[in-house]
Symmetry: C2
C-alpha cells in the first residue's frame, strides 16, 4: 500500500564506526542523495536544503549588520585573471574545473575557470569601484557555490566538488584596520557557530606553509569531530597588499597620494559547517539540529486510541495552532503509522521538541514535552506548555554547545616528545608542544611530525597562549611557539 | 577631496532612446557593472543584489506556501543525461557551456554541461525519490543560476550568459492535476509580478514551434516594455510524460500498477524580471522600485541651514527612528553634499518615499513626504506622518501597476491583413489576428508574418478569447485561433 519505511535509528553506533554512521544518517534523514551521476557531486534534499538556507540567512544578516553589502559575481573566471597572482594560481590550479567550449563545438580562445574562490574575479572590479579613502572600508560579500576538483575522497557536505559558501572580501586603508577585520570575522564565527549552531572550536593562526594561497596569514577555526579528528570550519585571511598590487586596488588617500588597499577575506563554507554540525550533534537515533535552524521546531504527536480519538486530535490541533504563532510546528495526524513510528521519524530528522498528547494527558489537561538531544520528558499542564517550551527552546542550542564543549575538556595534552604526540593523537587527543617557528623555517619540523604521528600542525592558538615550552619538539632549538597537533578531517 | 559625483537624472530620455536610457540607468543607479572581462557576464552591485534577493525571498515563500520544497542540485550535468531527450538536446545544445577538463590538463572522458536548465539533472533523481502514489504530487523547486551561451546580444539582467532563476519541477498522477498546476503557476505569476512588482502582463499559450524543448505545451507571460516590444517573463510548461519515460519517473498507483508521472515545470527568471521591472517602471530621474522590495523604503533628508541645524537633525533622527520599526529607513545626514544632490541620488536609486524636514517644517511641526514615482508632495503634521506613510506605501505598488496597465489599454489592435499587422507593430501596438493553427501546421504562416512584419506570433491569449476572425491572415484558411503578434525583446 505504498507505506513508507520507518527509520528506527542508525544501524551502526556512532562511536564504533563514525564513517558508516555518518553515511547512514545522511541517507535515513534524507539529507543528501549520492546517486547523482557525476563523481563528488551530491543532491541536497529538502530537509538539508531548508536548514542550509536558514544558516545562510543568519550568516548574511550578521555580515550585513556589520557593514557588508551583497554582490553577485559571475562564476566563470578567465584563465588570465587567475594566473596573475603566482601563489594563488599555484595553490588552486590543480583544483580548477575548466570551461573550454560551448554549443556544438565552439572552442574558446581562453579557457574559463569555474570559480574555486573569487579573488581573481572580484579584485579587478574593486579596482573600478574603489577610488578614494571615502570608499573605505569597502566590505562586500557573495553567497553562492564554488567548485573544486577535490583529490581527496568526498563525503556529502563535509567535502564535495561543488559546495556552498559565503565569501566576504574587504579593503582597508591600513594594515591595522585589516587586522581588526580579522578579529571581527573571528567574532562573527563565534556568534554563528557557537551561539546559533552550538559548536565549540579553537581559533588558530595557521603556519605559513598551510595558509591560503596568496594570503599573508590565515586564521582558522578547528572544531573537534567525534571521530577524534579536527575539522577546519570558517577561515579568515589577512591578504595584505599582494592581490591589491596585482589587480590595482588603489585609493586616493587624504594626503592626495594613491595607495594600495589592505585586503582581508573570510570564507564560511556553509554546507561544510552543516556537515560538521550533523556529525558533531547527531547521535544513534539520528540528527540533532540546533533550535533556530531546524526546519520544524516542534512536532505534536497525538497518541490516539479509538475511544477518545476525536478529542485528542482536536486537542493536538489546538496545541499546534497555539504554538504555530511562535514556532515552526507540525501536527502529525497520519493514521497509517503508529505513534512509535512517528517518534522514530522525527527523532531521525532531529526536530528539537516533540509534544505527545494521549488519553491520560487529555484527562489531566496536560501534555508531554520530549527533548530531542537527551530524550528527557517534561509533563506540563496545557496552560503552562507555551511558557515551558519557550524556556526549554531558549536553552536548547546552548546546551548542545555545552555538550560539545565538554568533549573538548581535558582534550589538550602537553607533550614533550614526538612519541608522546603520537600516543596522544592515537587516543583522539589534541597534542600541544613546543615548536621552533610557524614561518617557513619550521616547515621541515612539521613534516617530521606529520610523517611520524599522522597529525598535522594546526598552528598557534589565538584565544590564549598559556603553555610554554623550552625546546622545539623536533629540532630541539628554542621553542618560539606553542603549537597544537591533531589529525584533520 | 574624494567627493562623489551626483547623478542628476538620466542624460537621455526614455521615450527617445530606450536602449541608451536603460544602459545609463543601470550604470548611474549602480545596479550592474559591465566591465567584467568575460563577454555576456556582468556583476550585480549591492543595490541590485539586495533587491533581487528580496524578489527571490518573496517567490520562494509563495512557492513553499503552495507546497513546493527546496532542493539543491549539482550544476554540472553529464552529456549523456543531456542527450536522452531528443527535442531537449536539440533545443539546448547550441547554448551549452561545456566543462571538459580539470587541474593542469586532465581531460574528462565525458564532458559536463553547465546546466542551461535542470530537467536532465533532476528527473533521473526523481526516479529514485518517487515510488508510489503516496509521494504525489511531488513538488520541488531550486533557486540558483543557469548558464546559456546566448547568441543574441546581451544586456544586463534582461539577457545574460549567466542568470538567476527559480525552477520548480512537479510530478502528478494525472494529466488533469498537471494542468491544474499550470494554472497555479499562472496564479503565482500574478501574485508576484502584478501584486508585488507592479507589472501587467498577458498570459499566452505559445505556438507549438515556440514551446520549451521537450514540453507538450508552454504558457508564458508577456509584459509590454516601453520600447514597444513585449518581453517574456515567467513561463510554465506542461511537460507531459515524455521526460518521465526517458528518465523512468514512475509511481505505483493505487491499483498496484506502475505508471509514468505527468510533469510540469515553472521557471521565473528573477534577474530578468528585475530587468523588466526597472525598464518598465523607471523614468528619466532613474529607478522606480516597488515598495516591498526596495532596499530602502524611506529616506529622510534634513534641509539644514546653520541657524537651526541641531534641532532639524535631531528631528530628522527622531522621525527616522520612529519609522524604522516598520520600514527600511535611512536618515541622510551627510554634510558634504546639498539636500538637492541627495534628492537626485535617492531618486536615481528609486527609493519610494523621501521625507524632507526643514526650518519651516520644524516651526510648523510638520514634514514633507515626496512620492518617488510621480514626485507628488504631501505636507503632513509629524503626528500624522506614520499613518499617512502607511496609506501611501500600501497603495504604492498597486499604483505603479495601474500606470503600467494604462499603457496596455487600447494597445491591442484588430488586424485583417498582414499590412495592418505591420503598421500596428510599427506603432508599438500588439496586433491581434485570425490564424489557422498554433500546432505545427501553422508554423509556415507564422514565418511569413515574422518575415513580413518583424513581429512574432506570441500565441493564444489564456485569460480571454473574445475576438473572433473568419480567416487566417496568411493562408486564408479557416481561422481556428486568434493570435497576438508583437516584436519581442
Amino acid at each position: 500500500m505504498g507505506k513508507k519505511k520507518t527509520p528506527k535509528g542508525i544501524g551502526v553506533k556512532k562511536e564504533e564506526n563514525f564513517s558508516e554512521w555518518y553515511s547512514e544518517l545522511v541517507k535515513k534523514a534524507e539529507l543528501a542523495d549520492l546517486r547523482y551521476n557525476v563523481k563528488g557531486f551530491v543532491c541536497y534534499r529538502p530537509w538539508a536544503a531548508i536548514t542550509i538556507k536558514k544558516m545562510f540567512d543568519l550568516f548574511e544578516e550578521c555580515l550585513e549588520r556589520k557593514g557588508h553589502l551583497p554582490i553577485v559575481m559571475p562564476s566563470l573566471i578567465p584563465e588570465s585573471n587567475f594566473k596573475k597572482e603566482a601563489e594563488h594560481v599555484e595553490g588552486f590550479t590543480p583544483e580548477v574545473f575548466w570551461v573550454t567550449e560551448a554549443g556544438e563545438s565552439e572552442k574558446f580562445e581562453e579557457k574559463l575557470a569555474l570559480r574555486p574562490t573569487s579573488e581573481t574575479a572580484i579584485y579587478p572590479m574593486y579596482s573600478y569601484w574603489i577610488r578614494s579613502y571615502n570608499d573605505l572600508p569597502f566590505k562586500r560579500y557573495q553567497a553562492g557555490q564554488v567548485w573544486r576538483y577535490e583529490g581527496k575522497s568526498t563525503r556529502p557536505f563535509l567535502r564535495a566538488r561543488e559546495f556552498h559558501w559565503i565569501e566576504a572580501h574587504n579593503v582597508f586603508a591600513s594594515k591595522k584596520e585589516a587586522l581588526n577585520q580579522v578579529k571581527e570575522d573571528m567574532e562573527t564565527t563565534k556568534e554563528m557557530l557557537t551561539d546559533e549552531f552550538g559548536l565549540s572550536f579553537i581559533f588558530f593562526e595557521r603556519p605559513q606553509w598551510d595558509k591560503f594561497s596568496g594570503a599573508e596569514s590565515t586564521y582558522a577555526a578547528d572544531a573537534l569531530m567525534d571521530s577524534g579528528r579536527v575539522i577546519q570550519l570558517p577561515s579568515t585571511h589577512f591578504i595584505g597588499q599582494g592581490f591589491a598590487k596585482v589587480f590595482d586596488v588603489k585609493f586616493k588617500d587624504k594626503d592626495g597620494k594613491e595607495k594600495y588597499g589592505y585586503i582581508t577575506c573570510y570564507g564560511p563554507a556553509i554546507s561544510r559547517i552543516f556537515g560538521a554540525m550533523i556529525a558533531i550533534h547527531g547521535d544513534d537515533q539520528g540528527l540533532v539540529l540546533p533550535f533556530k535552524i531546524s526546519p520544524l521546531q516542534v512536532v505534536v504527536v497525538p497518541i490516539v486510541y479509538d475511544e477518545k480519538k476525536k478529542e485528542i486530535l482536536s486537542k493536538a490541533e489546538k496545541i499546534g495552532e497555539m504554538l504555530s504563532y511562535s514556532y515552526r510546528v507540525k501536527v502529525d495526524e497520519r493514521d497509517d503509522i503508529s505513534p512509535g513510528e512517528k517518534f522514530n521519524i522525527w527523532e531521525m530528522k532531529g526536530v528539537p521538541f516533540r509534544i505527545e498528547i494521549g488519553p491520560k494527558d487529555l484527562e489531566n489537561n496536560q501534555a508531554v514535552i520530549v527533548r530531542r538531544y537527551d530524550g528527557k520528558k517534561f509533563f506540563v499542564g496545557v496552560k503552562e506548555l507555551e511558557g515551558k517550551l519557550r524556556k526549554l527552546s531558549e536553552a536548547y542550542t546552548k546546551e548542545l554547545r555545552e555538550l560539545h564543549q565538554q568533549r573538548f575538556e581535558n582534550l589538550i595534552e602537553k607533550c614533550h616528545s614526538i612519541d608522546e604526540v603520537k600516543k596522544a593523537i592515537n587516543r583522539g587527543k589534541i597534542a600541544c608542544a613546543g615548536f621552533c617557528s610557524i614561518d617557513h623555517d619550521g616547515e621541515k619540523c612539521a613534516e617530521v611530525i606529520e610523517k611520524e604521528t599522522g597529525g598535522k600542525v594546526r598552528g598557534c592558538r589565538l584565544d590564549k597562549e598559556d603553555i610554554s615550552f623550552d625546546k622545539c619538539i623536533v629540532c630541539g632549538k628554542k621553542a618560539h611557539k606553542t603549537v597544537y597537533i591533531a589529525k584533520d578531517y
